[in-house]
Symmetry: C2
Subunit: 358 residues, 2 copies
């Protein structure tokens, strides 16, 4: 007899993308940045490794919050550091959604939101996107209205598209919170600046950011939330006292202080994205114009899974994704390949292999 | 109008011990280890800082689990790594206690268990300890019987005492889980070896361990759970995919491989503990015989708060603790000083100051 909560027994749990521990892979499956982090990060970590690791870290991450304030233009009391933006999303779920509350999120989108709702034992609904990845607000409006918490990744995954200001206002539940997951925000042609926090719905908005993508620091697990200080103060109650370790705090502080390094890498990735999009289009793929560090590619032949496997047998990993219950897709199932923008050399390796396969 | 869950608005949140960010303090308030971590940890971190931080860490912490298996004698599939044992305690709370389930824990004890129950919106009860820090099982038996989850720190904080095997069996709820928080287990004269996991109640037991105390690594946030593989598999669904970062994993692996370094430091701390206990007793304090890296000291004069403040004005921090609703204490309030075992020099500084104060 299991003693777990029945909600937990019922679900399979979230499966992250494959992380092979051996070498030799061209890894284009989990949207990591192919470029290394700022040299200042390595310096900061090397110094921190010599520091007083026997002492607890600053529970409030004061130095990081000051650096983040400089970078974002929001005061330090608008900033909550977390052990990856995944932890921030968990804290938000637990803070706002009790068992009778509803959580909503676009679909197809980041599957973790549904897992978080399941783990919390909260009710949840998918906001079904249209074939062009837009919202039909006549359809989703009533769903948003009855939600306590709406998660929206902007830009979206796997599609890579970005919704407009008006969309985001309409996605804010009248009696709830909008979480704007900007994991990929730095890859937009015109990056966000948190403007929604100063809008009429500002006190109902939390923006989340991560260091895993644009700052090339998936290995250190660091993200943060930006929101009105009243919201941040409430979220602090939910977090573990020392949720961020000394090393991650030192690395993230150094990284956010080196905006130029980050911009240089996101610029390179955007250039490669343009090239990859053109090459895939030439090979007969439909590619959604991407504002992220990946592209969503579908082929009319629909042999996506076989393509994924043929690539894998060549030690090239992309993400095969399959979304059931999509009304407008053939057999009600949308599938395709989500391909991370690697270095130019990695993308060449991928394209050569793909040309043999398709 | 707040949009937080009412449970969250109602509570104040957990307040960790003071962590002054300036220098010059004799810090005996949060049970940190005064000695540095193994030099192998610094080496491992320096190497990891040069590694591929742009990639996600191993979500399963495979290398660490193998090292922990060597150190504990339990197979790797009995081990769940976490971002501090605080995160493990959160995962356990969420996995086993729904809103109608009850959580119980000794009192006076580690206050975090109550905070975790509040944050989860679960019911909770205190198991009131006797003046000698024992359980009266006639009293607490029915409370344990109706609990889904019982947290027991062994040894206990703030008292530093350790309960027996028979106590632990009796504390296991017949239809629930016992979480044995062994944060201070390495400081016992005869450290635990996880024997309870092989007992008749083994599948209802989860043991938690931390690197913050005996391994001198409060700064890296690392802990782990030991439990039957069926339990570990369920808990894995609840954790964030990448809950432990590359650097913390590298540091914890190096630390647990250097058992000799850890033992050498815990031996020194135990020797200082004997000396501190004798000195406090001589100054008129009652000191509970401690199996941890701190002592709980109470003075018949009961001017504990004034003593804490006089020490603080000399830049010496100890933990003043005050527990209301303790039937057997004067004015139903138990208070006292919890003093971390520092280096011999730190303890001398503390004792000199205390002699001026008392």
């Amino acid at each position: 007899m299991s003693l777990f909560r029945p909600e937990i027994d019922r679900i399979a749990g979230y499966t992250p993308g494959e992380q092979p521990q051996d070498s030799g892979w061209t890894k284009l499956n989990t949207n990591e940045n192919p470029y290394p982090p700022s040299p200042r990060v390595v310096e900061a970590l090397t110094a921190a490794a010599q520091g007083k690791l026997n002492l607890y870290p600053d529970p409030l991450g004061t130095k990081f919050r000051k650096a983040a304030a400089n970078a974002t233009g929001f005061d330090p009391d608008w900033i909550l550091p977390g052990n990856g933006s995944d932890e921030i999303l968990t804290i938000l779920t637990r803070s706002f959604a009790g068992p009778t509350d509803q959580i909503a999120y676009p679909y197809p989108s980041y599957i973790l939101y549904e897992t978080l709702a399941d783990l919390q034992g909260a009710r949840h609904e998918r906001l079904l996107l249209e074939p062009d990845w837009s919202f039909d607000f006549d359809k989703v409006g009533p769903q948003i209205e009855r939600s306590k918490l709406v998660f929206v990744p902007n830009p979206n995954s796997p599609s890579g598209n970005r919704w407009t200001w008006d969309d985001l206002i309409a996605l804010t539940p009248p009696k709830g919170m909008l979480v704007l997951d900007e994991a990929y925000g730095d890859f937009c042609d015109a990056p966000h600046r948190g403007e929604l926090l100063n809008s009429t719905v500002g006190k109902q908005v939390v923006i989340t950011r991560t260091f895993s993508k644009s700052y090339s620091l998936a290995g250190i697990r660091f993200g943060f939330a930006i929101a009105h200080p009243d919201i941040i103060a409430g979220l602090r109650k939910m977090k573990d006292s020392y949720n961020c370790d000394s090393l991650a705090l030192a690395a993230a502080t150094a990284a956010i202080e080196d905006q130029e390094w980050m911009r240089q890498n996101t610029d390179r990735i955007r250039a490669t994205r343009t090239r990859l999009t053109a090459a895939l289009t030439e090979l007969g793929y439909h590619v959604v114009p991407s504002q992220t560090n990946f592209v969503w590619a579908t082929h009319p032949g629909k042999a996506h899974k076989a393509q994924y496997e043929a690539l894998k047998s060549r030690k090239i990993l992309v993400r095969y994704m399959s979304f059931p219950d999509v009304d407008w897709a053939t057999d009600r199932r949308l599938d395709g390949l989500r391909i991370t923008i690697g270095t130019d050399a990695e993308i060449d390796t991928f394209l050569s292999a793909l040309r043999e396969i398709v």
